[in-house]
Symmetry: C2
Subunit: 368 residues, 2 copies
DNA sequence: TTGACTTCCGAAATCGGTTTTGTGAAACTT
DNA sequence: AAGTTTCACAAAACCGATTTCGGAAGTCAA
């Protein structure tokens, strides 16, 4: 693997002009103690020879990489998170303006993730990390803290007080979701969520409860259902909730993926989404628009999030106090067509579903 | 931006053991001329001190970065390509096994892309490039060729003879698509494609024509419609084709995004997809499964493609002849439910559509 | 005993930059 | 006129590794 690129070095430039290489370096780094004529001669030579400093050599001396890192979890094999590609896009755009680059690695297990993190830190390939999808007790953050390595998180943790982060106000969003659904006339509102070790999953569940409490509606534990964060999980959760003796007429879902699965269940059993059952998601995925009916959801601009997170990390690297680099933003409800006033009471819905379940699936849609 | 990480260097290890640093380096690089006892003492110290060599210093000396680059186009602002995130995942997995990393940058215009490419080359931040979404005459490939810089392409170009690439046999796939649709009983088959400067767009169009020719069906230029590579483009194309005096009863689309738009148009005007109109996409996006009806499409595993492309690039870097690193694979048709025998002739379909267009949109689905 | 090989490892060169230190000449003091 | 500054740049040290070169000690043959 020898990859000699015979490119022009600072020595070539220095020789060409007849000065010391230090002088060339000073010109390129805008020192002021170089005379105008010399500066011009050097600049001219640099242009002629097409010289560009080696990032490597510069970084070695400076002890900096001009590169940020992100380790993305790729778990369960199936399909990468559509959110992430937009997120990365946002990061890359922000970094581009500053001449920084982004090193992307994937990790297929928690252990592998920490391992990768440590390798990148120890070999100093990056200056700082972006941590996505925080967990309530996040081992990555523990690791970075321990190494005293700069990072920023997209999402908080149990105790987010001492690091930089950017997050959506999940609690407020889900409380609003509940209020919105309630105002449409629904009495029984179900929640489809995910394992509570993911921080956003916990907060969204809390927001759901908060919303009920604000309205003075008593919380029925049966109406909360946690499943895998996937279409399949959403399908199963919808099945579980809608088979209840007194099913909810509305399903508030922690993510669009879950909501999509829930919609699929409804479709399969001939329940009209938006009237028989209201389904609301969260993420604002473009996909949602193409659903039938188009999915009502909370939007967060992944791209904007990426940009903001990147800029925060740069601020940390510039020495700003991480504690001062925390931001919480509101999600906004995008009403499309999957929500609406309930067409029937929980009891009649229950009867309908029981019929359908017994007589087997409804329409032509192929199985899951 | 001073980021001094006081980590342990090879000198620390050498001092700790009482040997020269060159000796430590030789041990770590598996030279054979170090006595067993010394080797063990050094290995022990390395472990104790938690030493990891600085990627930077090593790279400087070796003239290699152990990093591959990919510049992804992010054009039109809206939504990153879902294909890409899986593709990157595949690359990252392959690289992980070899201890290489992936540098990701985005480019928002062709000019910016070349600029970024040149910067990364000149500053030697990466050892080679992965080029995605090749154009028939690709300026990136011209640039890389000119610099004599190692790269691999996902997709071919007009003349792909002298570089490494991995591609899908688009011509064969689309010819097969036409045959499949024809065998269902369709006579008039439309094609929805994109600007022909993208290589795959050209090839898929050619495959469509090839398929018709193979069947002895005369090619009607009116049945080809090229639009933006997006849902909107697909919608417009479907509108244009289905408004024809003798409309096609099937639409073969160059990508899933286009197909999704086409399905949306059908839905809006109450045309039953899978019987009134057959729609077939290409990409095998997971989204397609959630469509109503689930989209019949050609699959390509983006993740696998990423892995194969990465391995090819590594072979190039290892000195293998790029010409020997070209691979063409077949796409496979995934039948879901958006294709079927036509429910009516082009003429009666035309009448139906004309009625619907005059009497305004059909069902409850909100506008695009 | 001596010359010729090995074996094992220290010393130094090197990669390509940045930064510190040093220096001759001009300019400015007093 | 002698001493002090300033200017503009050369020279050298340094970042942290890898790799080349060479030398001391030990081994072996003659």
């Amino acid at each position: 693997m020898s990859r000699a690129r015979g490119s022009v070095t600072i020595d070539d430039v220095a020789r060409h002009v007849g000065v010391a290489k230090g002088t060339v370096s000073r010109v390129l780094n805008n020192y002021t103690d170089i005379s105008e004529p010399t500066r011009n001669r050097i600049l001219k030579a640099v242009k002629e020879l097409g010289y560009q400093p080696s990032a490597n050599a510069r970084n070695l001396k400076r002890g900096r990489q001009d590169t940020l890192g992100i380790v993305i979890p790729v778990g369960h094999g199936s399909g990468a998170d559509p959110f992430l590609s937009e997120f990365i896009d946002g990061i890359a755009r922000a970094l581009d303006e500053l001449g920084l680059d982004l090193l992307v690695t994937t990790a297929h297990s928690p252990g592998h993730m920490i391992e990768t993190l440590q390798r990148l830190i120890a070999r100093r390939k990056v200056d700082g990390f972006i941590v996505t999808r925080t967990e309530v007790d996040d081992p990555r953050i523990a690791c970075l803290r321990e190494h005293n390595f700069p990072f920023v998180a997209h999402g908080r943790t149990r105790d987010p007080s001492d690091f930089a982060w950017f997050d959506i106000d999940n609690v407020a969003a889900f409380a609003e979701g509940v209020r919105h659904i309630y105002s449409l006339g629904h009495e029984r509102i179900g929640f489809i969520g995910a394992k509570l070790d993911l921080n956003f999953a916990l907060q969204r569940r809390d927001g759901y409860r908060q919303g009920l409490e604000d309205l003075g509606v008593t919380h029925d534990p049966d109406l909360e259902c946690l499943r895998d964060l996937s279409g399949k999980g959403g399908f199963e959760a919808a099945e579980a909730l809608l088979s209840l003796p007194r099913p909810p007429t509305a399903l508030l879902c922690a993510t669009d993926a879950l909501a999509i699965g829930a919609v699929q269940f409804c479709r399969k059993f001939g329940l009209k989404v938006g009237s028989d059952v209201t389904v609301i998601g969260y993420d604002g995925l473009p996909v949602g628009e193409y659903l039938d009916p188009p999915l009502t959801t909370f939007s967060q601009s992944a791209q904007e999030a990426g940009g903001r997170v990147a800029r925060k990390l740069i601020d940390v690297l510039d020495g700003k106090d991480p504690k001062s680099l925390q931001a919480l933003v509101k999600a906004v409800l995008i009403r499309r067509s999957s929500d609406g006033a309930p067409s029937m009471t929980p009891d009649s819905l229950s009867k309908l579903i029981r019929d359908r379940l017994n007589n087997q699936p409804h329409s032509g849609t192929k199985g899951e």
